[in-house]
């Protein structure tokens, strides 16, 4: 093939251009630390990256949900512990009241003490977290139990759930009726019955059975809260693991190997320098220089 000046110049321009373009790409990778700057760089990697980013956002949100849920279960757990203590105290008082040698004054005093315990129990039953009732989670009224009628303000069957993982929810509130009952059959109403019987001089030994039943209900509620706390803890650990794994996978897809990027950059730079040198050394002379 016949080679002319124009072919040589065009070839040189092309090779300078292509090595400069390669250098620019290597620089961009080294500076951004990312090998996925446009979807075309790696179409399937781009999709993976988008999915991983979505999962990361979701995972972060799950972690927030867990923290929020833990506040709820802690509040519920504390309230249930207090409730359990109060019920035990009430049972002691009821046993004392069974002592036949007590005069009416002593019985009135026991009744006063029981009334105090009932009020404390009401306070526990109306425990709130962030303005919401722990024992009537979806209710927007000021208290779970009305202090006069003991009416329950919650909605039976509704629950406060926290989503802690894909398809995984944990109940973080406690249904008040399962612990305290509601209205006329509530624990408070039962205590009121004992108080009035005490004042009237009637026996209240039936109260022991009622309080035992209440204590059992509290126990099972505590067990439920405990398992919710466990579930939240497990989810939290799983989220931490997932966060690390997601970051690692995203790094795999998106980020350049820094050492490799630096080596690439140095290589490209060398190639470009060599191309410049080659071009500057060639074509400095032609036949004209040698004809006299």
């Amino acid at each position: 093939m016949r080679i002319t000046d124009q072919i040589v110049y065009a070839g040189q321009t092309r090779s300078l251009q292509s090595s400069l373009a390669a250098l620019a790409t290597a620089q961009q990778r080294a500076m951004t630390g990312s090998k996925l700057n446009r979807p075309a760089d790696d179409p399937s990697g781009a999709v993976a990256s988008l999915q991983l980013r979505a999962q990361q956002t979701q995972n972060t949100q799950f972690a927030r949900n867990v923290t929020d849920g833990q506040a709820w279960t802690t509040a519920a757990d504390t309230a249930l512990q207090q409730t359990s203590t109060l019920v035990r105290n009430a049972r002691d008082l009821v046993i004392q009241a069974g002592n036949g040698s007590l005069n009416q004054d002593a019985r009135n005093s026991l009744a006063d003490q029981l009334a105090g315990l009932r009020d404390s129990l009401l306070t526990q039953a109306n425990t709130q977290i962030g303005g919401r009732n722990v024992f009537a989670g979806t209710s927007d009224s000021g208290a779970a139990y009305d202090t006069a009628t003991y009416a329950f303000s919650g909605t039976p069957g509704s629950a406060v759930m926290r989503r802690v993982g894909d398809g995984q929810t944990v109940r973080v509130d406690v249904d008040g009726t399962s612990v305290y009952g509601a209205g006329a059959t509530s624990l408070f109403a039962q205590l009121d019955g004992m108080i009035s019987d005490l004042r009237a001089g009637n026996p209240i030994s039936y109260g022991i059975a009622e309080l035992d039943t209440a204590q059992q209900a509290i126990g099972s509620a505590q067990a439920a809260v405990g398992s919710a706390q466990n579930a939240l803890q497990t989810a939290s650990t799983a989220q931490a693991t997932a966060a690390t794994a997601l970051t690692a996978r995203r790094t795999d897809v998106e980020d350049v190997d820094t050492a490799q990027a630096i080596i690439d950059l140095t290589n490209r730079n060398n190639v470009y320098q060599a191309a410049l040198l080659a071009v500057s050394n060639s074509m400095q002379s032609n036949l004209t220089d040698f004809l006299r």
């Binding site: 124009q6 979807p39 979806t138």
Partner: protein
């Protein structure tokens, strides 16, 4: 018998031929850097001896010197045709690759600010609302994240629409360039025909015409067929663009806005036959038209319209899916059947999408009958992002498709550019000027001139001997 002074005449033809050759070399050297210049060469032949006037025995006679029969333009029509075809293809792929590069930057995925991130953020905000239903601040975050998503979709769509209009305007300009080049070729055809008919050299005019034919190839592809009278006919998609001195004109027709592309696709047509598309398969205009094509249901339409369609589908599915759940929910104050997004009828969905909920109180988070502060509905809405057929999955798949399309376009472009480079090198190998070669030619021509001058001197001296010194033996 040759004439006494025939030798002088012979030497003179040698002088003029060498001078002509040097002039041509000068023309070549001075145009070594002229784009589209084709090197030329003197065509000379030895002159036949004069016919003897004597009847009978023929005597051998020397020739009468050299005759310059023409100035040859060293071009190979095949190489030129190959260059035109290769550059038509390279212009086609180059236009596509450039536009796809811009489009990818516009879409801006994957990033922390793209539509995909805004979607994830939007779903996450519903989770926060599920945790704290009835809290105005959390509902306000849902609304503001929804607004960012709406803005992101609308701005993405607008950028695509403006790229489309920009490309449409550019393509119309290219169609005008085709017409100008066609007119130029027709005019040059006329001049060349006249020059050749008069026996002149039209080499420079032919160079200009070849450059214009090359321009046409880069714009719309097409082929050029030389004819015996020196003119060329240029065909585009099998139809005549230029024949002899007449040129047909093309025009770009169809929608001028992305929204109208589906009903009135952009097409190149002959001005004489409006309404009929020209099926061009190469050149910048073909590249632009392939990008401007309307969207197709199977995703094989023009990539700009497909992108706009992806924004529309995203807007529609977000609005439909969220509203379907949201309307079943109740707000804290007990209202139900509310829409969260509204989708304006008519016009592109991406621009018609807006947040319907006026304020935090209008955001429903709970299921009916589950208590005022129930958050189960908000939780269900937040799960839309990971459900089957989610807007997220649609968008992710679109980004993957866009990436694959752009990658394929890049590869095609690299191949077409390599092929065009090879064709250009082959063409230049034949037609471009090599200064070394011209220098050698110059030496040869100079020597020829000097030698011819020497012949002239010798003949002159011989004649001098004959005329002035014959018969003077013994004189003076």
């Amino acid at each position: 018998m040759a004439s006494t002074f025939g030798g002088l005449e012979t030497a003179y033809t040698g002088l003029t031929a060498a001078r002509d050759a040097m002039n041509i070399t000068g023309q070549n050297v001075t145009n070594a850097g002229t784009p589209g210049y084709t090197r030329q060469r003197i065509v000379q032949t030895s002159a036949v001896p004069a016919v003897s006037t004597h009847f009978g025995t023929a005597q051998p006679q020397p020739g009468q010197g050299v005759v310059v029969t023409g100035i040859q333009r060293i071009a190979d029509e095949l190489a030129n045709a190959r260059l035109r075809a290769a550059s038509a293809q390279a212009s086609f792929t180059g236009t596509r690759a450039d536009a796809l590069q811009t489009l990818q930057d516009t879409v801006g995925e994957p990033s922390d600010t793209g539509v995909a991130s805004q979607l994830s953020q939007f779903w996450a905000s519903w989770q926060d609302l599920a945790n704290n239903p009835g809290q105005a601040s959390t509902a306000a975050v849902v609304l503001s994240d929804a607004q960012s998503l709406v803005n992101g979709i609308a701005s993405g769509y607008s950028k695509v629409a403006s790229q489309w209009s920009g490309l449409r305007t550019q393509a119309a300009g290219l169609a005008d360039q085709v017409n100008q080049a066609a007119d130029g070729i027709a005019t040059l055809n006329g001049k060349i025909q006249q020059t050749l008919a008069a026996g002149g050299s039209a080499n420079e005019l032919i160079d200009q015409r070849d450059a214009l034919a090359q321009t046409v190839a880069q714009l719309v592809g097409g082929t050029a067929t030389p004819r015996a009278d020196g003119t060329v006919d240029v065909f585009v998609a099998g139809n005549v663009l230029v024949t002899g001195q007449s040129a047909n004109h093309v025009q770009l027709a169809g929608a001028t806005q992305l929204e109208g592309a589906a009903s009135a696709p952009v097409q190149l047509e002959w001005q004489a036959h409006p309404g009929q598309a020209i099926a061009i398969d190469g050149g910048q205009i073909a590249g632009a038209l392939s990008l401007l094509a309307p969207a197709a249901a199977d995703g094989s339409g023009g990539v700009l319209a497909q992108t706009a369609e992806a924004y529309n589908q995203l807007a529609t599915s977000v609005a439909t899916q969220v509203n379907a759940l949201h309307s079943t929910g109740v707000t804290t104050d007990g209202r139900t059947g509310l829409a969260f997004f509204s989708l304006a009828a008519g016009g592109p969905a991406a621009l018609g999408l807006s947040v319907a909920a006026g304020g935090p109180a209008d955001v429903a988070a709970g299921a009916p009958g589950a208590g005022a502060l129930d958050g189960t509905l908000a939780d269900r809405i937040s799960q839309l992002g990971t459900a089957a057929g989610s807007p997220d999955a649609q968008w992710h798949s679109f980004v993957g498709t866009l990436g694959a399309t752009a990658q394929a376009a890049q590869v095609q472009d690299a191949q077409a550019q390599a092929s065009a480079t090879s064709a250009a090198t082959a063409q230049q190998s034949i037609s471009s000027v090599d200064t070394d070669q011209e220098n050698l030619d110059l030496i040869t021509e100079q020597s020829a001139y000097q030698a011819a001058a020497r012949v002239l001197t010798s003949v002159d001296q011989v004649l001098d001997t004959l005329i002035n010194h014959t018969g003077v033996v013994g004189l003076a």
